[in-house]
Symmetry: C2
Subunit: 205 residues, 2 copies
């Protein structure tokens, strides 16, 4: 098999679409999550994100990247106005519905209803949950940072509630998402499943 | 199976170690990459990161999270002093060596030599590559942001070179890492393999 070598000379002259797909996927698959929000009129929104990263456990913080030009702004506006959002893993058996949350619906359309997800709430928390998924987080917005190089935003939130199936948790607290068949995505449309190989011991020199 | 509900009441009173592992893994597996750098004396360093995210394709930007208290600072110092680094995917057949790059070696120890990776260079680029891995990126440092909530840093870089096996690239530019058996990790030690389910069509309302 042949090893190709690409440089900016290649992606500056060739067609845009190829390189957008290429760079979207070269960093490999990541877990794909649905971010649920609600506007002040009660209209629910679901955005699909594959940029969720762990920032720290104490306090429990997660961040994701918001790309202003390609992702609907509903998620961002609702997070700013309500201060909260839900994060829920997609699963293999829900693949079609999960992918459908990436569609750009009109502001007035409730995406839970349009896509056919049952909505649920918990007391004192404005953002809606999708019923029937194995891992759900309730998040409070903490801070945001704008990347000057291309105007993407890092959105940082703190975990306030976790709902998770008991059977997914190892004895030491490690959550085994492979038991719930949660989805990964590479780029915008290449979905993957994952299997645990093994857990490794803490590495020492 | 029973759905558990955890709140800050739980993680404030219980032992730290359990919740560190829990929150490290709840966001699901992500691709794990080795970041290669070199200091001004020519000593090579490899850091293991699972927080790589795509920021944009034009210019091609990737970011990762640097956690000051848990990750050795060598990677960060070398990036600041040299302005560059390499990003290379781990693969299933190299699992032991890949995980070993997470060990904290002394500054004077060359991690490529200690771990047994063959080092290679390209002209005009100070950061070293590991030979024999299927996807390699040469990065130039662009900017950093410090998250106030817990002092983690977002490190942003621009892709300058890509080396990738031809057979991994779909006709439209999508890179299928599952064909190269690249590794994913959940938390710090739970390694996974991935299989492509399918690519989906662009979703419309």
């Amino acid at each position: 098999m042949s090893q190709l070598h690409f440089t900016s000379e290649d992606w500056k002259v060739s067609e845009d679409r190829y390189w957008i797909t290429f760079f979207n996927s070269i960093s490999g698959p990541r877990s794909v999550v649905m971010i649920g929000t609600q506007d002040q009129e009660g209209v629910g929104n679901i955005g699909l994100f594959n940029s969720l990263v762990h920032l720290g456990a104490n306090p429990p913080l997660l961040a994701f990247i918001l790309r202003p030009t390609t992702v609907p702004r509903h998620t961002y506006q609702n997070i700013l106005s309500s201060g909260c959002y839900t994060i829920q893993h997609g699963t293999v058996d829900l693949l079609s519905k999960v992918h459908q949350t990436s569609a750009k619906y009109d502001t007035k359309q409730d995406e839970f209803e349009e896509i056919g997800f049952e909505k649920s709430y918990i007391e004192g928390f404005q953002a809606p949950f999708i019923q029937g998924v194995p891992i759900s987080l309730a998040m409070e917005f903490r801070e945001e940072h704008t990347v000057k190089s291309n105007n993407t935003r890092l959105i940082v939130g703190e975990v306030k509630h976790v709902f998770v199936n008991e059977r997914l948790i190892d004895q030491d607290g490690c959550v085994d998402t492979s038991k719930a068949d949660t989805l990964l995505v590479s780029g915008l449309d290449a979905y993957h499943r994952h299997d645990r190989i093994k857990r490794m011991k803490y590495a020492r020199p």
